[in-house]
Symmetry: C2
Subunit: 396 residues, 2 copies
């Protein structure tokens, strides 16, 4: 006997994501048929290097504190311990030159959670989402039944859509820079165009800077480096890709105190959302995150970031040498390349798997504009990246 | 210049919660005026004893694994590691006599998160919420704009509302047993009435069993001990109160595989919600949680539970001796008592603070039926609980 409650019908509008399960399926099938072949995986979006010593030392110390009645910690503050909010504010001040008050920083268990949950506080707005991009923007807004329009990224604009031609007002605009999956990074001028458009049109920018630590050169790491952002932007970032926290879970969202719409302070709405539906990040994890931003910790975590970006540079150099169009490869752990001979993404996937025994990620999985493109990741080992380059050099 | 985006107008319908800030304010004012008085705090709903040795050993080991490339873990499975889902299933089997498949168990960072997020997957249903009760049921459904009806708990029904008189269909019904704040626990017969009603009316029960470890005697720990529950119930529970995880964050939700409404499997909707908006619980925390459910771990955590329930029994005995009406005090860390001489909750708060220097929690903070009642917590030390009883013995 079934229940008679109504479910959220917006879930029916979600596209099933077969991307990574389909990749796994094809890889397993090939492996079964060709057990002697050595497959190199450049498909993953997950880090592989361990937590740094500063972080694990801090976590051990925090576990010891939790083991003793005198130093035990119960419920954490819903928006993060002050020690961590202050450490993040100092990171912005010292490394990015951005002044923030610690209470504009809301600590959470992940950028994915914040990206997914932030629609809770908004009403019925039109949402602008880049294509291709990280699928959570689209899926979380689809679940909430929002109107969605796509911002086309393509070869012509280097996968960096601009606001040209947009006529409406009051949009919610997602920007991911450095972009996942394309690795494309907005320049100061490019990002300023979006801020100017947002201010003029009364729109809100949700800026995802999860990959900012990978930036090389004079690109903005934080949207708050640019004038005007405090009146139109939220920033979501994470310890996942800077400090290898994908399995440790800590992130933050920045909401300027004065950010307001509809007569309501956005920060106050988020506070209420988080205090109602979230109960803070583990103390042990927050101490680890704090340590990652210490001078010692930062030096250690940036060694891992360098390891990955050096891998990316090796992949990028090959593509440059071959004259293949790509974005990313610098300022990003990803290299986003055009498939050979106008092949479709999945055909190129099969081609690479079968002829070079390399597993990558078909660009079509990140939006319709990803068709004909392909993502390689630098999160593998140096050795396997070099071997992949050797194989690709012969093939392409 | 303000933005022109629409915010979620349901947030305006939320009552501001002044409960704990008002308690703090009155306590600080009294303390400032009477610095020589020794105040005993029996107001908190947070644990105070440290994590047990089995848990901290497991967490140390897991931190070491995260420090080495060979054993490092990246993104965790979104619904929890198999080792933890299997450990929870074994706990249900061995301790509660309930058979579950491990993949009916969804691990998360907190019961508050699950309680708050589960409305995401439902449509426009009428929600039945006990009064008094934990405020998150009300607030999260208010944010989602749901119709809400209250189930009256009162002295007559021992703060255990029944379905008598309900005529509708397709309700979402929240049940918290043992209840926070009243400590009242449903008997098998009482809970079966709700299951029978839910089955008959096509309703869904969301059963919050966060305090099940405190139960003494033959009360149901899990709704799935009772026949019929698999066709009408979800259960949400947590490591917070059994293993002192309030600052460590781990919980689980059980959705029977076959649970279905509107032609949709509820478990499948929750999977999609979690895979989109959540990225798993820290590996280190999941290893700690697993250890809490080992034989050694359970023996250790139940010592702390016994410490708290022994405190509660001391408070309950005093009230029994004095002939004061109360619920809880056994099978719960809370004692819920009627205020003296028909005083209102906040008047009784001031009376206890001023005459006995005891801080408790006014029942009115948990719903309108809480007016005239008061919550004392057993999460303090044995010494302070005994001293509180001595002071109350003279006073009441």
């Amino acid at each position: 006997m079934n229940m008679k409650i109504k479910v959220n019908t917006n879930f029916s509008k979600l596209k099933e994501s077969y991307l990574f399960s389909e990749i796994g399926k094809r890889e397993r099938a090939y492996r079964a048929a060709n057990p002697e072949k050595k497959i190199i995986k450049l498909g993953i979006g997950d880090v592989t290097l361990p937590l740094c010593e500063a972080v694990t030392t801090a976590m051990h110390n925090a576990v010891d504190e939790m083991a003793s009645k005198a130093t035990f910690r119960g419920y954490a503050p819903e928006y993060g311990y002050d020690f961590l909010r202050v450490a993040i504010a100092s990171y912005y001040k010292n490394k990015l030159g951005v002044s923030l008050s610690a209470d504009e920083i809301y600590v959470s268990d992940g950028a994915k959670s914040d990206v997914g949950n932030i629609p809770d506080i908004f009403g019925d707005n039109t949402v602008l989402i880049p294509d291709p991009v990280y699928p959570v923007y689209l899926d979380s807004n689809t679940m909430a039944g929002r109107r969605i329009e796509f911002l086309d990224g393509n070869k012509e604009n280097g996968f960096l859509p601009t606001p040209d031609g947009l006529k409406g007002e009051g949009y919610i605009i997602y920007i991911c820079s450095p972009n996942n999956p394309t690795g494309a990074v907005y320049t100061r001028e490019g990002l300023k165009e979006w801020i100017d458009f947002a201010v003029k049109s009364g729109s809100l920018i949700i800026f995802d800077s999860a990959y900012e630590a990978y930036i090389k050169g004079d690109y903005p790491h934080s949207i708050f480096e640019l004038e005007g952002a405090r009146s139109c932007a939220i920033e979501i970032s994470s310890f996942s890709k800077i400090a290898g926290f994908t399995g440790t879970r800590c992130a933050w969202t920045i909401i300027p105190d004065e950010l307001e719409s509809d007569g309501k302070l956005i920060g106050k709405l988020w506070k209420r959302r988080q205090a109602t539906k979230f109960n803070g990040v583990p103390y042990v994890v927050q101490r680890g995150a704090e340590a990652a931003l210490s001078d010692t910790g930062l030096a250690q975590v940036m060694e891992s970031v360098k390891y990955y970006t050096d891998n990316a540079a090796v992949l990028a150099k090959l593509l440059s040498d071959k004259g293949i169009f790509y974005t990313g490869g610098t300022s990003s752990p990803y290299v986003w390349l055009e498939c050979r001979n106008s092949m479709k993404s999945w055909d190129f996937f099969d081609f690479l798997l079968e002829t070079a025994n390399i597993v990558g990620t078909p660009g079509a999985g990140f939006g319709s504009n990803g068709e004909g493109f392909f993502r390689l990741s630098s999160f593998g080992s140096r050795e396997s990246t070099l071997e992949a380059v050797e194989r690709l050099n012969k093939l392409l």
